[in-house]
């Protein structure tokens, strides 16, 4: 029996019912139960007031914690207390080769400058986007009148960034008054901002300030600025006060901020770039020749609130220092939108061990060329790891290694329990398997758990009675044809020990000695042999595999060609434990659809006993004329 009002119930009806329960115990008023009564109206007011306050308190409390906040402004605020700056909209960028041909032009200069913010246009679908340079680039006459613009590293790739250029000018007030300079633009890419501070309004000399989050050391003389997202989605510029994080802009001075306001993701995929205007040289206007080295990519929206929620605590734990593997992951993912996934591990955990190094493996967004990937890696090494990592620890980049899984799935299928066919269900099983890989794997640390996949398969339809799947791991390598070469393939897990029934390691086919051959391990041994399609042994010992380390070694392998119309060989191996495949370090698990299959076995569940099929059928025929006991003979 309720003796007090249950104040923790937030729902209006619950609150009102609690009040009614209270009145039910009193004899003073009895009309609480009739909606039209005066008492009910008063209860409405009381309940609504409580409901409203309870909800407000609940929302306010939810917004008070990073884990439960729903509003972006709240999450930004919590992230700020952890010193985390969420990523702004990121501009899409590309790399182009720019040249100017002035052959035959008299009085041409020896050096031509391409000014910062030179504009180019490009289309993605029906939309036109503006791309531009951010700094000046120089080109030198090669003697024939051809000028090729070179980047800071002396190579041809000139980066172009999508967006409209804006300049905001602020005037500095009294030093004692802490000023926040508001940039009312929620599509600003903060990484493109250039902040210049002038001592006076009319001065032409300026000091370029750099971003606080990228500072290596801070003194009272550091020229740093902080840019942070405000609760309304705009950005606020903040400077030190001469003590806290560097020099304060001088009173009466001027601050200019130049930045790109960008379309983010929409501008990805642009390929043809046209200069918006000609270059003026020696009294004439000439058109830049543009050759695209890579289509535009890297454009991204503002960091999502879920991403901020996940990364802010990790970044706080990293404290702008690269010490643990998680530190590398947090800071690289935060700073480089080109990197979609990152794994890091110490050299002591590497195979082979390499002390004094940290290994980093990166997955890039689609569309990045090898040259662009190298630029990102150089940036990480020069601007990040060299400054923030522990002294004497070097960074080594290791490309992700994809290990493919081949799945042979079988399931028992009772057509009576569904309206679909076995074939359709086999397709559903294949699709579920693909979805499982897309959702859970194809990323660093994505672990394959067979029982989880089978549970999803069993849930496809009640007609699937049970399921099973056999797993094979597959590594791929490109062999050098017609040259005797040794290879070593490392699997992420231990391999099955050799036995006298199953071939543990097997390759796809290739031509060797003018015959179609493959490599298999000799039964009961770890020795690998080249076997032709007629089961004849071509080479008795071409290498071996080590079940414990998961290493397959080929020695002096010299194929003539590969048969499957591809340039690589697939090497499949049965793992020691098929239930769980845990990819360590830079391994990523993927699904090889081609050899995988799903096979349904029709099982109508009519067989009541399978102990003695012959005797039961004979007993059935003999008793057909008698007084029905065909089932009782079991």
């Amino acid at each position: 029996m309720a003796t007090s009002i249950q104040s923790t119930r937030l729902d209006f009806d619950n609150i009102k019912n609690s009040l009614k329960t209270y009145f039910a115990q009193q004899s003073e008023f009895t009309d609480y139960d009739f909606e039209a009564s005066g008492l009910s109206n008063i209860l409405d007011v009381l309940a609504y007031n409580t409901h409203y306050n309870a909800l407000t308190a609940n929302f306010a409390l939810n917004e008070s914690f990073l884990n439960t906040a729903q509003l972006r402004s709240s999450i930004i605020s919590h992230a700020a207390t952890l010193g985390y700056e969420p990523r702004s909209v990121t501009t899409s960028s590309t790399s182009v080769s720019l040249s100017l041909n002035l052959a035959g032009v008299s009085g041409r200069p020896s050096v031509i400058t391409l000014p910062a913010f030179t504009e180019f246009t490009s289309k993605v679908g029906d939309n036109t986007f503006s791309f531009r340079t951010l700094i000046d680039y120089l080109a030198t006459d090669d003697g024939t009148g051809l000028y090729k613009f070179l980047n800071e590293e002396g190579t041809e790739g000139i980066p172009l960034y999508e967006g409209q250029k804006y300049t905001k000018t602020f005037y500095v007030g009294e030093v004692g008054e802490r000023q926040l300079y508001v940039i009312p633009d929620d599509t600003m890419d903060t990484s493109t901002a250039t902040v210049k501070v002038y001592d006076t309004v009319s001065s032409s000399a300026f000091t370029t300030y750099s971003r606080l989050s990228e500072a290596i050391s801070i003194t009272s003389e550091s020229t740093l600025y902080q840019i942070a997202e405000a609760p309304n989605g705009f950005y606020e510029l903040n400077f030190g006060d001469g003590v806290s994080f560097g020099r304060a802009p001088p009173t009466g001075g001027k601050i200019t901020v130049e930045y790109l306001s960008t379309s983010g993701t929409d501008a990805n995929g642009a390929f043809l770039f046209t200069p918006a205007s000609n270059i003026s040289v020696a009294g004439g206007a000439y058109t830049l020749a543009v050759s695209t080295l890579a289509s535009s990519n890297g454009g991204a929206p503002k960091q999502s609130i879920e991403s901020i929620r996940a990364n802010a605590p990790i970044a706080f734990a990293a404290q702008q220092r690269l010490v643990t593997a998680e530190d590398y992951k947090a800071i690289i993912l935060k700073r480089f939108s080109a990197v979609t996934d990152c794994a890091a591990w110490g050299g002591e955990d590497n195979i082979p061990a390499n002390y004094g190094n940290t290994y980093v493996s990166l997955v890039f967004a689609d569309g990045y060329t090898e040259a662009q990937k190298q630029v990102v890696k150089d940036n990480i090494r020069n601007n990040l790891t060299n400054n923030l990592s522990v002294i004497s620890i070097d960074t080594v980049f290791s490309d992700p290694v994809t290990t493919y899984l081949q799945l042979s799935t079988t399931f028992n299928f009772n057509p009576a329990l569904t309206g679909t066919t076995v074939k359709a269900t086999e397709n559903s099983v294949s699709n579920t398997t693909k979805t499982y890989f897309e959702t859970n794997l194809k990323k660093f640390g994505g672990t394959f758990r067979r029982s989880n996949l089978l549970a999803e398969i069993d849930n496809i339809s009640p007609a699937i009675l049970n399921s099973a799947t056999e797993i094979k791991l597959q590594q791929r390598f490109v062999p050098t044809l017609n040259v005797s070469t040794s290879y070593e393939l490392v699997y992420p897990v231990r391999l099955a020990a050799a036995d006298d029934v199953n071939v543990i390691v097997e390759t796809s086919t290739f031509i060797f000695n003018n015959r179609i051959c493959s490599i298999k391990n000799k039964l009961n041994t770890t020795t690998l042999q080249i076997v032709n399609s007629g089961a004849g042994i071509e080479v008795d010992n071409i290498g071996s595999y080590d079940p414990q380390t998961g290493i397959v070694s080929l020695t002096g392998f010299n194929p003539t060609s590969i048969t499957a119309g591809v340039n690589y060989l697939k090497v499949t191996a049965i793992p020691a434990n098929s239930s769980t495949i845990v990819p360590l370090r830079n391994y990523i698990l993927d699904f090889d659809e081609e050899p995988s299959f799903a096979n349904g076995i029709v099982d109508r569940q009519t067989q009541t006993a399978a102990l003695s099929t012959a005797s039961s059928s004979s007993s059935g025929s003999s008793s057909s004329g008698s007084s029905g006991s065909s089932g009782s003979s079991y």
Binding site: A36, G38, N41, I42, A47
Partner: protein, 147 residues
């Protein structure tokens, strides 16, 4: 007749007897909130309480009561509607439904709604019986626009 009792686990009602019938007195707050000499407010009971509830029901507008948007006779809003030949019948149906749904204590005996467009008024006469006491109550109400 033997008395029945519940176990302690079923609600500790072992001392209570099962009551087959009970005459319940209706007691409500007087919504005029007039002060009694002892500084308390007045109560309304029985027919007066139900009469107040019926009046309250008819004058409550749609969406006025929280989380019960269909509650009310919505008479106040009808004053601002255009009057046609079916308006009185429609209004009677609304009132009948409202009483039927939300005032189980009143059994409707007679209902007459008169729209007086020339005077911007609705005259409403309702006769109902209090279910508990069989008492017959007549409610006459006239609504008019003040502007």
């Amino acid at each position: 007749m033997a008395t029945k009792s519940f176990s302690y686990e079923d609600g500790n009602l072992n001392a209570s007897t099962i009551i087959g019938e009970r005459s319940k007195k209706y007691i409500d707050i007087d919504l005029s909130f007039a002060a009694r000499p002892d500084k308390d407010i007045y109560k309304k009971s029985d027919a007066a309480a139900v009469k107040q509830a019926v009046k309250n029901l008819l004058l409550t507008g749609r969406n006025e009561k929280p989380f019960l948007q269909n509650f009310g006779g919505d008479l106040g809003n009808v004053l601002f509607e255009l009057v046609d030949e079916d308006a009185e019948d429609e209004l009677e149906i609304v009132i009948e439904n409202a009483l039927d749904l939300y005032e189980p204590r009143a059994k409707l005996l007679y209902l007459d709604v008169k729209l007086l467009p020339d005077r911007n008024q609705i005259a409403c006469k309702i006769i109902f019986r209090i279910v508990n006491t069989q008492e017959q109550v007549t409610l006459d109400t006239t609504l008019s626009r003040v502007r």
